[in-house]
């Protein structure tokens, strides 16, 4: 009995140490964001200091920051709405119907997520250039389909599978058409799943970097690109400012990941594991 207790304590100690290691970068950027420029690069590092808010105030007034926040918001919202509209119906098809070629389409959808983005980025630059879509919201939103389509289709398929077919059949007997049954009976049942899918998609769009870096420049600049161009590359870095901007940029992601943790496994495995 005593031995068992000792083992249990050891397990918790290991888990707590790991948790601290996981949290260390996050706690550090948070504490840096409240330091003045001397404290931020003090050697030895300062763990106790007079906290200030000026980094946050400066960040908000910093040229381009709020614009980048707005751009991230527009692109993320645009791309998840578009992707949900395109992908949800097919998630339903995957869960209910079978016809020739269905598996192939399913595979190609999955491959949009797996393919190295550089394959399509290079042609996108040329094609977008020809259509005047380079450096525009719309261009980046279209590219955003690649970020989330696989997630939407396969995650929604899993949620549709969770709705018993009998419920739908009952609605059909009551005189609904298939489409009405889908809209009035099935969709309300899976609305939590739809919300979870939307939130996870938003998270991935919000954090997306390589498409935004390659396909936009002056007119549109999302937060990750803003962060990477403002704070990379020179030695004498404004660490307090960087940290405040970093905290603001990543806060939505952290909130969302906690909000949907129940559905996270399903999302990360494209519906394969519940």
């Amino acid at each position: 009995m005593k031995r068992k207790k000792a083992i249990n304590v050891t397990k918790h100690i290991v888990l707590i140490i790991t948790a601290l290691f996981v949290l260390l970068p996050l706690l550090w950027i948070l504490s840096q964001s409240f330091k003045n420029s001397f404290d931020a690069i003090a050697s030895p590092p300062k763990f106790l200091f007079q906290p200030i808010l000026s980094n946050y105030i400066n960040t908000i007034h910093r040229e381009g920051f709020l614009n980048a926040f707005r751009d991230s918001l527009v692109v993320s919202l645009g791309s998840i709405l578009l992707t949900l509209a395109i992908g949800t119906p097919f998630g339903y098809v995957l869960s209910r119907f079978s016809f020739r070629g269905k598996e192939d389409i399913g595979f190609y959808i999955l491959s949009t997520r797996m393919l190295p983005p550089i394959v399509v980025i290079v042609p996108f630059v040329r094609i977008f250039n020809a259509f005047g879509l380079l450096d525009s919201y719309f261009g980046l939103i279209i590219a955003g389909i690649l970020v989330n389509l696989a997630l939407v289709v396969w995650m929604m398929r899993a949620f549709f599978l969770g709705v018993p077919q009998e419920i739908e059949e009952a609605a059909l007997i009551d005189g609904c058409t298939r489409l009405e049954a889908l809209r009035r009976v099935v969709m309300p049942l899976i609305s939590p799943g739809l919300v979870a899918t939307a939130v996870l998609s938003f998270l991935f769009s919000w954090n997306e970097f390589i498409f935004a870096l390659s396909l936009t420049s002056f007119n549109v600049r999302t937060l990750p690109v803003y962060m990477a161009t403002e704070f990379v590359g020179y030695l004498a870095t404004d660490w307090g400012g960087l940290s405040a901007a970093g905290v603001l940029a990543t806060l939505p992601g952290l909130i969302f990941i906690i909000a949907i943790q129940k559905y996270l496994v399903r999302g990360l495995t494209f519906g394969a594991i519940k």
Binding site: L15, T18, V22, Q32, S43, L115, I118, I145, G246, L268
Partner: protein, 286 residues
């Protein structure tokens, strides 16, 4: 089931996805394949057909193989370490009787962090002069390390950061897998007198194999094309110590304006990806 007159419903619901695939997948991919056989000189002017010239340039380029080795080391290192850590933690989490949800919530946080911000944060932590990692090492008498500036250290350092961000992915999936395992085989093993190590070796591991496969393959494909962290921390340097294929492809395309070289590297990566992807779709469909 026919949708009144006209297109059957399943086809109607599939149509948007097919159009989207044509626009964002098929058309650009074919375009990229064609670009592999063209050259535009310095990036302006009309493309000229050059046959296999681009492939020849790349395959006779020593750095291309260095990039490939970096890609391989990064992928295997990141996936391998995060798998071992994640599996270990999942087993631990599965065996304690309280606090699971608190640990879980803490452990998933890195997944939500913007990779670019993760990179910038680790840049601070690993800074040779002001970083707290070197400070902690100094406390136990170890000389400061050039985490991202030393040629031998740089690749392990970016792997470490990737491991920090993505071990939670492994942990979550494997923990979910452990939770789904049936109880009976363990009871049977216990009756047969199996030790806990034996029941892990002969019960847990075989039952968990499909889930391990999903986790490892999905993570592997992501690591293979990982860009954000490497770009924010080292941009492929110092020298070419952390330059993987995708970083090289980006640099070729946008730094040196040799878009066709980016396309060639991209297509090579795509072929490798497809070979792996074909296999997992069957697992997911199940």
């Amino acid at each position: 089931m026919l949708f009144k007159k006209g297109i059957p419903l399943p086809y109607l619901l599939t149509l948007p996805v097919v159009i989207a695939l044509i626009i964002v997948l098929f058309y650009p991919t074919i375009y990229a394949v064609l670009m592999c056989f063209q050259s535009t000189g310095s990036g302006t002017g009309n493309p000229v057909f050059v046959g296999l010239e681009n492939f020849k340039t790349l395959f006779t380029n020593k750095e291309f193989y260095q990039n490939g080795l970096n890609t391989l080391l990064f992928t295997i290192g990141s996936v391998g370490i995060s798998f071992l850590l994640g599996f270990g933690l999942a087993l631990l989490l599965n065996s304690i009787d309280f606090g699971v949800s608190v640990y879980r919530t803490v452990f998933i946080l890195p997944i939500g962090v913007t990779p670019v911000v993760a990179g910038l944060t680790w840049n601070m932590l690993l800074n040779p002069l002001y970083g707290i990692l070197n400070y902690f090492l100094g406390l136990i008498g170890i000389q400061p390390l050039g985490w991202t500036t030393d040629i031998r250290m740089a690749l392990p350092s970016v792997i470490m950061i990737d491991v920090w961000q993505w071990t939670p992915f492994m942990l979550l999936i494997l923990y979910a897998g452990l939770q789904m395992l049936p109880k009976e085989p363990y009871e049977a093993a216990l009756i047969d007198g199996a030790s806990s190590l034996q029941s892990f070796r002969y019960v847990t591991f075989p039952l968990l194999k499909p889930i391990i496969a999903i986790a490892v393959v999905l993570r592997g494909l992501e690591a293979f094309k990982a860009f954000d962290i490497i770009y924010t921390i080292t941009k492929g340097g110092p020298g070419r110590a952390t330059e993987t294929w995708i970083v090289r492809a980006y640099m070729e395309s946008f730094r040196f304006h040799r878009m066709e070289m980016g396309a060639v590297i991209g297509i090579i990566m795509l072929i490798i990806t497809i070979l792996v992807c074909r296999r997992i779709v069957r697992v997911l469909e199940k």
